[in-house]
Amino acid sequence: MKLELKGITKRFPSVVANEGVDLTVMPGEIHALLGENGAGKSTLMNVLYGLYQPDEGQILIDDLPVQFNGPGDAIAAGIGMVHQHFMLIPVFTVTENIMLGVESTSGPLLALDRDAARKRIVELSEEHGLRVDPDAYIEDLPVGVRQRVEILKTLYRHSNLLVLDEPSAVLTPQEVEDLFEVMRSLARTGTSIIFISHKLNEVQQIADRITVLRRGKVVGSTTPDATDEAELARMMVGRPVQLEVTKSPPTTGDEILTLRGISVLDDRGQLAVNGVDLSVHAGEIVAVAGVHGNGQTELVEAITGLRKLEAGSIELGGDPAPTDPRHVYLAGVGHVPEDRLEEGLVVGFTIAENIILNSYYLQPFASGLAIQLDAVNRVSSELVREYDVRTPSVQNDVGNLSGGNQQKVIVAREFSRPLKLLVAAQPTRGLDVGSIEYIHKRIVAKRDEGTAVLIVSTELEEILSLGDRIAVMYQGRIVDILDPFEATPERLGLLMGGAHPEEGVVPEPVAS
């Protein structure tokens, strides 16, 4: 399918989300759409998918103008969308999920014809190397496989233009490779692909053509051969960006955090952390790598007092660590939680209220029962300025900020006091290049002050650029601890996928 977006403009009451955007995707082309959060990528795709009507401009498919009044029209025209958050029903099988909404039936009672659907699914999956068991239940499948189901869903509906929204965010490096194979296979058979990402290396690797958006406008269109990552970053952000974190070798001090054989259960009562030993010293960054869901979340929650230990012990500066969040905070532990909207912030509270979220009862913010608004506003205004949170006022609801600015609010709150230990889980998830650069700098600065830092991340680049020591977590265990110089992306990828450190052999995937 050839798709042309011509002069798309979409205005919202306070912002122009897209301004005269032109985008042409040729048949069989993998077209990367690059831009920071808030650059207008999502708006543009929502216009394409019929969720928004553009104020100006038009959409042409195979040179014919079309109008989409809803996703139904877009799907009928052959556009398929794979969202970042999957739209699958966990207790349905792969086949049932794929046929949902376009059910094939047989007989006068309109019985579901699963066999016919199953047959087509098998054909499609073989054609494009999308290995999936059509009878498996979604809840039993790993994330990478679920994504294949989403892609199959669009192919089943005869899509010949696929929009993939940040598809690699949840995948292991190996799964990303598999995904790229599938994308290439689809492109070979004439399917066009719009690949939304802000990972520059992936864009360089897979795209035929790259279009960069900034502040709702197209700032440039290029090819991987004609550019490099630094250039792309500059186009996205509008200024030169330092992609590599510069840091001096660590000067380590005393052991601050000591984990001795800790085991932790997850919400379902399964053993999520299984006998982990780990230590973090003052002035060093220990980075825990691993695919999401291998116990890192529970590990962080155990350290920060949000989850109780089943076995083992945690020491903080040589003493037994407190076991509830309030006393962990008071002991000098900063915590940047994994999910900023779920845990790190209270949406509906102002920025000022979020700044004092875990110190609201302490001087100078409170005296007795009364909150001292003057102190709250003064301190939060100072922090907002110091940590460069872009907002008209600290009285603004934190929910109205962009992801990067929300994360800066958390960083301002957690970094602005003397810390013994900093625990940061996914500190830059979903952030744009500029914000990532900023937060990385702040983390390194905290380390250089002599704080012990524990980072948990699923982003290899982040692990490699920040970690002074790198621990790899797989199925609740620390499988290896590496020095940065011996940790290549390939080696980390293998370890994260469950290869034994000595043998370097990948076991068979759990389900495929």
Partner: protein, 407 residues
């Protein structure tokens, strides 16, 4: 290089002064925006109420087949009659006769207390449907103090009786609170059931010698002794100091919610329990404390009614204030000032209903219809926005009143 790019953006400039102004403007706009849905809900409810009046008008029904024009005219004139009767009953002519206004405020008084109770719960993410039961138990406690100690001075006896009302409600709010904290029992279920329990507790208590009016077989309490009666505000009107207490309670709840560390905890738990837990707030304790204060406020509604208006406790003395309170909290957007105005509105509807029926023959139930419609539209803001084509403002989260069943 084959890249067509625009020049890079200039470095971001700090926009401090402009920004501050934008913040203030935003807040004022935000305040006005919050009034849009309640006001339009009331307007729509009155409009639909008018349709109900027309359709049930006997003249309209009789003539609609033969002379639709005359039928509609009759219908419209009875709408006019009904609403002007309602208004006259609620306000009268304040310059000539203050009584209708004071009656409206008298009826608003328990609604303010109970509305504050429900609103406080909403702020902490709790759906306290049990205000009705807490009103009864509060009234029972206040009665227990109010019918005894005839020799105490008013300055000691009256506060004691009022506090007893608060304590009674708080005890009765503690039960669902602790059940939720300890066992996860959903407060909607437990409070609804405890309402029934409260009716029977009151009925049983009033048949005991301690409470029962001597010489009576039915459940009626002794009379409140003079030293525990809330004094009247004006010599010839029934309106009493309960109204002043209710307004003080509204200010106190506002301070508690928005200026105290406890309120910070309540609101954090209400908006995002996992965020509150992360911040080191004890959620279970917050749930129990909130339910106790909420119950206490509802208990004050019962106390003020018994000590100021009824002067003795009977079963069924509350015409479902505890349920109207839910509507009032919603209409008032869980803000104390909003609750006060919503309670006065509901008080006016109640006060105006009887004169309306007397003058026009339109049943009092019309008021219930209007109240019900207001609640429906408030609960479905999307409906109001669709009807009046209001663009959805950015969600601020403050519109979330309570968590669903899964909590």
């Amino acid at each position: 290089m084959s890249i067509q790019t625009q020049p890079p953006d200039p470095p971001p400039v700090t926009e401090a002064p402009k920004a501050e102004r934008a913040g203030l403007r935003e807040r004022l706009l935000g305040g006005a925006r919050q009034l849009v849905v309640p006001v339009l809900s009331l307007f729509t409810a009155l409009l639909i109420g008018a349709v109900v009046i027309i359709l049930s008008d006997p003249v309209f029904i009789a003539k609609v087949g033969s002379n639709p024009g005359a039928a509609l005219g009759a219908g419209i004139s009875s709408v006019g009659g009904a609403y002007s009767g309602l208004l006259a009953g609620a306000l009268g002519n304040p310059f000539k006769d203050i009584t209708p206004v004071t009656e409206t405020l008298l009826r608003a008084t328990p609604l303010i207390f109970a509305g504050l109770a429900v609103a406080l719960g909403f702020r902490a993410g709790l759906f306290n449907i049990g205000a009705e039961g807490q009103i009864y138990i509060g009234a029972l406690f206040a009665t227990a103090v109010g019918i005894n100690f005839p020799d105490l001075p008013l300055l000691i006896h009256l506060p004691l009786a009022v506090v007893a009302g608060f304590v009674g409600g708080a005890v009765y709010g503690f039960v669902p609170g602790i059940l939720k904290a300890r066992t996860g029992a959903h407060e909607v279920i437990t409070t609804i059931m405890l309402n029934y329990v409260s009716y029977l507790i009151v009925d049983l208590a009033l048949r005991q010698v301690f409470f029962q009016l001597p010489g009576r077989d039915d459940p009626v309490s002794k009379f409140i002794v003079p030293s525990a009666i809330l004094p009247r505000l004006l010599a010839d009107e029934r309106l009493h100091w309960g109204l002043i207490l209710a307004l003080v309670a509204a200010v106190a709840v506002w301070w508690l919610l928005f200026r105290s560390t406890k309120g910070f905890e309540f609101r954090a738990v209400g908006l995002n329990p996992s965020g509150a837990r992360y911040a080191g707030i004890n959620i279970n304790r917050t749930v129990v404390v909130t339910m106790m204060i909420s119950g206490g406020l509802a208990g004050l509604a019962g106390a003020s009614e018994i000590l100021g208006t009824n002067l003795r406790l009977t079963p069924g003395f509350s015409p479902h204030w505890g349920f109207d309170a839910i509507a009032i909290a919603l209409l008032g957007a869980s803000r104390p000032v909003g609750v006060v105005f919503a309670a006065i509105l509901f008080g006016a509807l109640r006060a105006g209903a009887t004169p309306m029926q007397a003058q026009t023959g339109i049943p009092i139930d019309l008021v219930v219809v209007i109240q019900g419609l207001v609640i429906m539209f408030i609960a479905a803001p999307g409906l109001v926005r669709t009807i009046y084509r209001i663009r959805v403002a950015k969600t601020t989260g403050t519109e979330i009143f309570s968590k669903g069943w899964g909590a």
